[in-house]
Symmetry: C2
Subunit: 335 residues, 2 copies
DNA sequence: CACCGTTTGTACAACGTTGTAGGCAACGTT
DNA sequence: AACGTTGCCTACAACGTTGTACAAACGGTG
């Protein structure tokens, strides 16, 4: 049922290698020979065996994308863009969920590189630079801030700047008691730390004090965590007039908690998020947010990987920055 | 940097095959020999080359999951469950987006099977039984209703029954003018047809007429389509007191449109969806819905695939049914 | 002690592909 | 006419692994 080069060769009356040459677009094949071979390929519906090709060439045409969880909308949207960007290079993307734990991430980062893939785009939560250094040489591009001075290429966005800008926007609306939701003290919370820093920067620049009681931690960044953190803030008696949630799912949870508490958004409390996931465009109210250019992130990551694969694998690691913009929607604007 | 069986063999002072036997857990290896080999493996950090192994054995340990779009929450959640279920079989999952078009789906279904994967779990929108029959023999499990009597194993849920039940629930609440959002006349709309049938069944059983003007089509099933369809219904002058949306994202869009029109949910209009995506548990109001057991769907699909891989590939196609339950939340209940 | 079956290990070939080396025409140049 | 050059194609080996066949060592039995 499944045919090999040999079958095509026999049918076309040429050598196996000539068929291989046709398949690979080698120049010196007579037009009529080429035509005969192509006809045979079509008749047999021949497709190259990628494993054999890989074994011989050392390339599979498959790259992996490893993210903590697929059903976190941000990662799902990112995955979509990576698949699209990779297609431009003729690559297939193998998507892996790490779950976000350090051990799991280490397993993925080392295990997945068992010769099946050419390279890896990795969005780590817990992996350390140390873990990373112990991996053998599968080219890798990191997304996000977790690993500070690792040996790998990275695509980042300016978390501090974005957080500062969106917080300043809230201040510009006249809000003075601005809460932050999503802080994390663990090592996993690199993005949390940076966004918190940007938040604090903006308060300081506006002459507003940084009030510890307005900062709510969240163990993970799901809707439920956002709702719980918001409820915690409200029952603790602090009365914020605005909330900066460190991502959109937290913000959606916070909206929910505010709704349950009978508070109006944005009249009583303005809410902003981070990531610009699609839900935020249809939530009630729609959600103001920082919109990282996910397509650009994906494209830069794929391009970095391509450069690394084709170029010098020992070249120094590069870091590229993706852009973002602010989206102002109902949760910060009176209709 | 990367070592082969041969390197391990030299270090341990045995033949290549003996190392292979140790790696594969072959029984008849003397304990001290095994220990020596394992030590050498550890020292060299040896990992088998999966391409070579595949070439020899005909198995890769990779299965593919093909879905229309990854950033549709239902598919993202499903993907997560499939990855988890596959891990129990030691499989890695390669996730592919088809985009949902017939041609693209055909490309994925045939192209992806280029020797890289052992099997495919496929959630088709547009592919026909005819397309499917033309594929060579990569084992495949289909999800959903699209292909009626195809040659492949399938996992389905009882769309008609579920739609009937949720509609009956609305009727039980005293609603009489119940709209349906998401109908599709194209071939892609198999699920839409079945859910519409269940909706009509329930109306008929309750002695309510089927009113064409209460049925709104939706080209795709995104939030934006739900919002547009709902706006269309409202501006056309029909005044439903309940809406059955054929999936949750449509329902979230509909909630948005109702909100913009100043209608209260559930007081003025009750809303139900289908899929039980996480968003629906945090939306305002929270969304009543049909909750298919996604974990079960994923598990059944993986098991069917495993059976097919290990067993008789020519055995007749099987069809398994996954269960569902109804979730009643705020969008159909007054607080 | 000869015999036999089991245990433990080895050598070789094969999976399907492509890189290398080289052969044979046909051509233009001296 | 002899020569190198070019175009086109073929034969062979190799990528790293495992199945098959078989050899050597071992233990128990008659």
């Amino acid at each position: 049922m499944r045919h090999r080069l040999k079958d095509v060769a026999e049918r076309a009356g040429v050598s196996v290698k000539t068929v291989s040459n046709v398949v690979n677009g080698y120049v010196h094949v007579r037009p009529d020979t080429r035509a005969r071979v192509e006809e045979a390929i079509a008749e047999l519906n021949y497709r190259p065996n990628l494993s054999a090709r890989h074994l011989r060439k050392g390339r599979t045409g498959v790259i992996a994308l490893a993210v903590p969880e697929l059903d976190i909308p941000y990662f799902a949207e990112l995955a979509r863009h990576v698949v699209t960007a990779a297609a431009d290079f003729g690559w297939t993307v193998l998507i892996d969920q790490t779950g976000g734990g350090r051990e799991q991430e280490r397993v993925v980062a080392s295990g997945i590189t068992d010769h099946l893939i050419d390279g890896l785009i990795f969005s780590p939560l817990a992996l350390t630079a140390e873990d990373l250094a112990s991996l053998d040489g599968t080219p890798m591009v990191l997304l996000g801030e977790r690993i500070d001075h690792g040996p790998a290429d990275r695509v980042v966005i300016d978390n501090v700047g974005a957080a500062r800008e969106i917080t300043s926007h809230l201040i510009g609306l006249g809000r003075r008691r601005i809460a932050a939701v999503g802080s994390q003290r663990t090592d996993e919370g690199a993005s949390a730390r940076l966004r918190l820093a940007g938040y604090a920067d903006a308060l300081r620049a506006a002459g507003l004090g940084y009030d510890e009681t307005l900062v709510a931690p969240a163990p993970a960044w799901h809707r439920a965590d956002g709702a719980a953190a918001m409820r915690g803030l409200l029952t603790s008696g602090v009365r914020p007039d605005a909330v900066f949630c460190f991502n959109d799912t937290l913000a959606l949870g916070a909206l929910r908690a505010l709704h349950e508490a009978g508070l109006r958004v944005p009249e009583d409390v303005a809410v902003v998020g981070f990531d610009d996931i699609e839900d935020g465009r249809f939530s009630i109210p729609t959600l103001s947010t920082v919109a990282p250019d996910k397509a650009q992130i994906a494209r830069l990551a794929v391009e970095l990987l391509a450069d690394r694969l084709d170029g010098d694998r020992a070249a120094p690691a590069r870091e590229l920055s993706a852009s973002y913009r602010l989206e102002f929607r109902e949760s910060t604007q009176t209709p």
